[in-house]
């Protein structure tokens, strides 16, 4: 399902991510990344609207403000890689090959979605295609990705990388620690991107960790550390591109830490009023989508007109897809087999 290497409508020829991640971030990669950010942003705005209108039940957790960081990881992955996105990775997911259609299906619980209504929202994926479906328990996906990479090593696949994202809050979990340490021992081609958005839910960093810099943890695991400016697409593409390429070359796990701010509540039920205005107005609070647009236009990689037309096209795609999915069948409880086992013989006897 990975379309990282496909060209599609998003740009013209894309260089392979291997090349683009060597040193300079190229035009096409940036264009594709920007377009994907736009898709994520507009799709998430639609999800929020569907939540407010009661069409989505449960929680809606958005990545607004984190699209640049998220997409930068997604676009550097390719078919055969492993990707375990977390809460705020709509952009990375789309870049890795998830679709607007399956996102909407999963949130709306359509029986045609990959999760078939059994799980929803951010808890989606297609593990058999390298796209892991996160469990809620933060930190758990780090070692899971390690495991997939160990399998690739057994299979003799040398050039695959595995990647996952996590918030700064998630780095407090034992699971994160064990996974990082294990990755380092096995020298796995793992890239972990920490989105330090200053809050885990309402909890500010001073109640989450006490080191002056989360990047200092890299040395404690014996892995390489990289810092990215979390709302600067060009920087994220460069830094993460380098991290991914380094991992791919077999130089072991890479930890990327990026500061930024989520420009939205923890979930759509949350107004984030605990984030002080002054922080929102600081450079951390600048909208990565705006910045990316400005920077692409400044470099003449994108015109205003093109950006506007992309916006319209994506808006249309999102709207049309949503209307379609809203008419799709809900899962029918009477057709479920209510059986958690994979082994056919285990259906009856529990």
């Amino acid at each position: 399902m990975t379309k990282a290497n496909s060209t599609k409508s998003k740009g013209s020829e894309t260089k392979s991510s291997e090349e683009s991640s060597t040193a300079r971030v190229n035009r096409e990669l940036s264009r594709r990344a920007y377009r994907t950010m736009l898709e994520a942003r507009l799709l998430e705005e639609k999800l929020a609207a569907l939540y407010r209108s009661g069409k989505i039940v449960g929680g809606v957790f958005l990545g607004r403000g984190q699209e640049a960081l998220s997409v930068a990881l997604g676009v550097h992955l390719r078919r055969g890689d492993i990707y375990a996105p977390l809460i705020r990775d709509q952009a990375g997911r789309l870049a890795f090959g998830d679709t607007i259609l399956d996102t909407l299906r999963t949130y709306l619980g359509s029986s045609l979605g990959s999760m078939r209504g059994r799980d929803g929202n951010i808890h989606r994926g297609r593990p058999s295609e390298g796209y892991h479906a996160m469990i809620s328990h933060l930190g758990a996906m780090v070692s899971t990705v390690c495991g997939s990479l160990v399998a690739k090593r057994f299979h003799g696949e040398k050039s695959a990388v595995g990647a996952t994202c996590i918030g700064e809050g998630g780095t407090s979990t034992g699971s994160f620690h064990e996974g990082m340490n294990m990755a380092a021992i096995e020298n796995l081609p793992l890239v972990v991107v920490v989105a330090n958005n200053q809050y885990s839910y309402s909890t500010p960093n001073e109640r989450q960790f006490a080191c002056s810099d989360l990047l200092a943890r890299a040395a404690g695991y014996g892995v390489s550390g990289h810092r990215a400016v979390g709302n600067d697409l060009v920087d994220c593409l460069g830094v993460i591109g380098k991290a991914v390429a380094t991992a791919r070359r077999g130089e072991g796990p890479q930890l990327v830490v990026a500061d930024l701010l989520r420009l939205v509540g923890h979930g759509e039920h949350d107004d984030a009023s605990y984030i002080p205005e002054v922080m929102k107005k600081s450079p951390l609070g600048r909208d990565c989508l705006e910045l990316a647009r400005q920077s692409l236009i400044a470099q003449e990689w994108l015109s205003d007109d093109e950006a506007d037309s992309w916006h319209k096209a994506v808006e249309k795609e999102v709207e049309e897809t949503a209307s379609k999915v809203l008419r799709e069948p809900a899962p029918d409880p009477s057709e479920e087999d209510w059986n958690a086992f994979a082994s056919p013989s285990l259906g009856r006897n529990l």
Binding site: G58, G109, R118, G120, H137, G169, G174, S200, T203, R207
Partner: protein, 325 residues
């Protein structure tokens, strides 16, 4: 007080405990200034400065901290953001808190609050009911209040006793359930560990707890039309289980249905039936039955969720079958 929700009762119990007992403090994610994911600690950090503390995302260490504080004479309350995340604090709960008194003679008076149970759209990881897991372990008390009054008095009781208590509060009841007033003291409530006859009846006994008490009561109402008079026993605590009250009820009715929102294997329903079958075999006029969640993770889609868990109508169906056995 005009109308108090189950959630507000939990908040008020904590407020009262903080006020009356300097040993009490609360520790959990986002419970300070923010007041908690469900607002069970709203305003408490302001009212009790330094005693309602935001924790990092570290369930194992959260429970460890509570245990260490309890050893030094405090009465910590740990709020898990969801019951489901207590799996990450599982080791400290079952291997340290549960064993401490037996091993060393030092009590471990901690309360771990688990926002439990399903709500529509919450999915596999924000819906679990873990009472049976914790109740398996000697040394743990497991409470499952079904009413606003019990949420209040039992939480106060949980804080006051010397044993570690797993306090399973039901998220579905948080806003749905209301009471006009609260008992002024735990003593006004039933004694600790006693079950309650939530509805007296004659033809069959439903044993339930937590949110399922309300499904059971609704089912019992439904069966009035069929001419049946169903007794509903609310367990209140699932460890200890008040076997005497259950047996007395079965002695009156001769028939038993146990309803649990959790999975069947080794759950409360299985435990209750095992006790009644062993100790009250002669009281039974029909095979005891149970109704639980279906044998899959808790599904996300509300339509699946509504079928996954027992409801008034599936309880009523089970009752009708039981009454024909």
């Amino acid at each position: 007080m005009s109308s108090i929700t189950y959630l507000e009762a939990i908040r008020l119990a904590q407020q009262r405990a903080l006020k009356e007992d300097p040993r009490v403090f609360i520790y959990g994610q986002d419970i300070g200034a923010f007041g908690g994911a469900f607002k069970a600690t709203k305003n408490l950090a302001k009212e009790f400065p330094g005693r309602v503390l935001d924790a990092p995302i570290s369930e194992d260490a959260m429970v460890g901290l509570a245990i260490g504080a309890a050893i030094e004479g405090m009465r910590p309350i740990v709020e898990m953001q969801f019951a489901d995340f207590s799996t990450c604090g599982f080791n400290q709960i079952v291997n340290q808190a549960a064993t401490l008194h037996y091993r060393t003679g030092t009590p471990c008076p901690i309360v771990v609050r688990l926002p439990s149970g399903g709500t529509p759209g919450s999915g596999p990881f924000h819906s679990q009911s873990m009472e049976a897991i914790y109740a398996h372990y000697p040394g743990l008390v497991v409470m499952t209040p079904a009413t606003v009054e019990d949420a209040y008095t039992m939480l106060l009781e949980a804080i006051s006793i010397d044993d570690p208590v797993i306090f399973c509060e039901h998220k579905f009841l948080y806003y749905h359930l209301k009471a006009e007033s609260l008992p002024s003291a735990p003593a006004e409530a039933l004694p600790f560990g006693k079950a309650r006859i939530a509805r007296p009846g004659r033809d069959a006994t439903i044993v339930a707890y937590s949110a399922m008490v309300h499904e059971a009561l609704a089912a019992a109402e439904e069966l009035v039309q069929d001419g049946y008079d169903i007794e509903v026993v609310d367990l209140r605590t699932v460890r200890p289980i008040d076997t005497d009250t259950i047996l007395a009820s079965v002695a009156r009715t001769g028939r038993l249905l146990v309803v649990g929102e959790a999975w069947p294997w080794g759950g409360v329903a299985s435990e209750v039936i095992a006790r009644v079958a062993s100790e009250g075999f002669g009281l039974l006029d029909a095979p005891p039955q149970r109704l639980n969640a279906k044998e899959t993770p808790v599904p996300y889609h509300p339509a699946l969720w509504g079928t996954h868990r027992p409801t008034a109508s599936s309880v009523a169906n089970s009752l009708r079958q039981l009454l024909e056995l």
